[in-house]
């Protein structure tokens, strides 16, 4: 009787161990391939455009990221999904205006979403635990239902839960989400907290900064000019 229980326990331990080992090796594999160029055969290139998720960070952040969208070849980057904070009244309107100008009839393809923010300016830390959980859940729901091939973001904190959800999609093997972060032009000497976190965790496939001085401090970033 006792022996049975013990062997049962042993099996559970082994199973759990295997799961942990499997998860950790998957995590290592994802990290190894993070930042590697996407391998495409010539045929697959033609047939497959990338479902692109663009996180609009409000104010200057939105203005900067839309400069990138302006220059994108929409044949390659479509459909496009835009996410902005629930409290941000202007960003989605700006994105819609750009889509109308640039995509015309194809606009039907693009989607616009609003997301809860983890913490508003001035909110207390105690209530922000609850709102952070809500924001995370919402980000996971959106990421799993959109299942993008590419996430482009440039801060502030709004993009953090979305990127974590994107990384989980990768680890679970649901979709290989290429993740791109552009540090805001306002960061001249230091990375933002969000940027620093992404950098330290090796979460991004491409990490751009907009000042050469900042690139020198963080060698795994790239500087290819400014957006504004």
């Amino acid at each position: 009787m006792e022996e049975d229980e013990q062997s049962g326990m042993r099996w559970w331990t082994i199973l759990l161990g295997l799961l942990v080992v499997g998860f950790v090796s998957r995590l290592v594999i994802v990290w190894m391939f993070t930042g590697q160029p996407r391998v495409t055969s010539k045929d697959s290139r033609k047939e497959r455009s990338l479902k692109t998720l663009i996180v609009l960070g409000s104010g200057g952040h939105t203005a900067e990221i839309l400069r990138i969208v302006e220059k994108m070849n929409f044949e390659n980057y479509s459909p496009r999904c835009y996410i902005a904070a629930v409290t941000d009244d202007h960003s989605l309107a700006k994105a819609k205006r750009l889509e109308e100008e640039k995509a015309g009839d194809e606009l039907k393809q693009s989607r616009f979403y609003r997301i809860y923010r983890s913490r508003e300016v001035g909110q207390s830390y105690i209530t922000s635990v609850g709102t952070t959980l809500l924001a995370m859940a919402h980000a996971f729901y959106l990421a799993f239902s959109i299942r993008p091939d590419l996430i482009i973001c440039n801060g502030p904190g709004t993009c953090l839960p979305v990127c974590i959800a994107g990384f989980v999609l990768k680890v679970l093997g649901v979709r290989w989400v290429v993740m791109v972060y552009v540090e805001s032009i306002a960061r001249v000497r230091k990375l933002s907290l969000t940027g620093l976190l992404f950098y330290k965790l090796h979460l991004m496939d491409q990490f751009f900064v907009q000042w050469p001085k900042l690139q020198q401090k963080f060698p795994r970033t790239q500087y290819v000019g400014r957006l504004m």
Binding site: P37, R38, V39, T40, R45, L50, G59, G60, T62, A63, E64, R67, I68, E70, K71, M72, N73, N76, D89, H90, A93, K94, L150, V178, V180, V182, S184, I185, A186, R187, V188, R189, K190, S192, D205, Q206, F208, W211, Q222, V224, G225, R226, L227, M228
Partner: protein
């Protein structure tokens, strides 16, 4: 020597200290002395409502509104822009090639905004001030010593991204 309009903007943010500083009689008198005749103010989320009669006393016409998503018409007709340090407003003004005084919000906790303003001021694209030093800055600034801002090209970033994703150059 009438230079016309000064556009004051806090973007969509809350920065009453800037609007209050601009609307103080001392500041209005300085602007008048420099030749400006009217103010248009974008108040953003601010609660401070400017008193038009203070402007009348200094012979400066004051107009204001809460927020407009597109302020191009004001930027283009302004002879001077006084702005908060948000990168959106700053670069919109520089790209419109308007003389700019950026007022840094000294009350913000995480004050990375001054990083950008200082860097751009070092390159002589604009002047920086705080609400407390605005009048001094206006008095001592020399707008003809400012350098015109060369707008950047985001194409390089998109090209790098295209390459990384395996898209042929367009």
């Amino acid at each position: 020597m009438t230079k016309g309009m000064v556009f004051v903007t806090v973007g969509s943010t809350l920065f009453d200290a800037l609007v209050e500083a601009v609307c103080r009689p001392e500041c209005l008198a300085t602007l008048r002395k420099l030749g400006y005749s009217s103010l248009v103010i974008q108040l953003g989320k601010g609660n401070f409502i400017p008193d038009k009669s203070v402007g009348e006393a200094e012979n400066i016409e004051i107009e204001y509104f809460t927020y407009k998503p597109n302020v191009d018409e004001y930027l283009n007709s302004a002879d001077l822009v006084i702005s908060h340090a948000g990168s959106g407003s700053v670069f919109e003004t520089l790209r419109a090639q308007r003389p700019l005084v950026v007022v840094v919000n000294t009350l913000l906790m995480d004050n990375h905004q001054s990083e950008l303003a200082d860097e751009l001021a070092e390159r002589k694209y604009l002047y920086t001030a705080s609400p407390e030093t605005l009048v001094d800055t206006l008095r001592t600034m020399r707008l003809d010593s400012l350098v015109p801002y060369q707008s950047s090209e985001p194409s390089a970033l998109v090209t790098t991204l295209d390459q990384f994703l395996g898209f042929p150059p367009s």
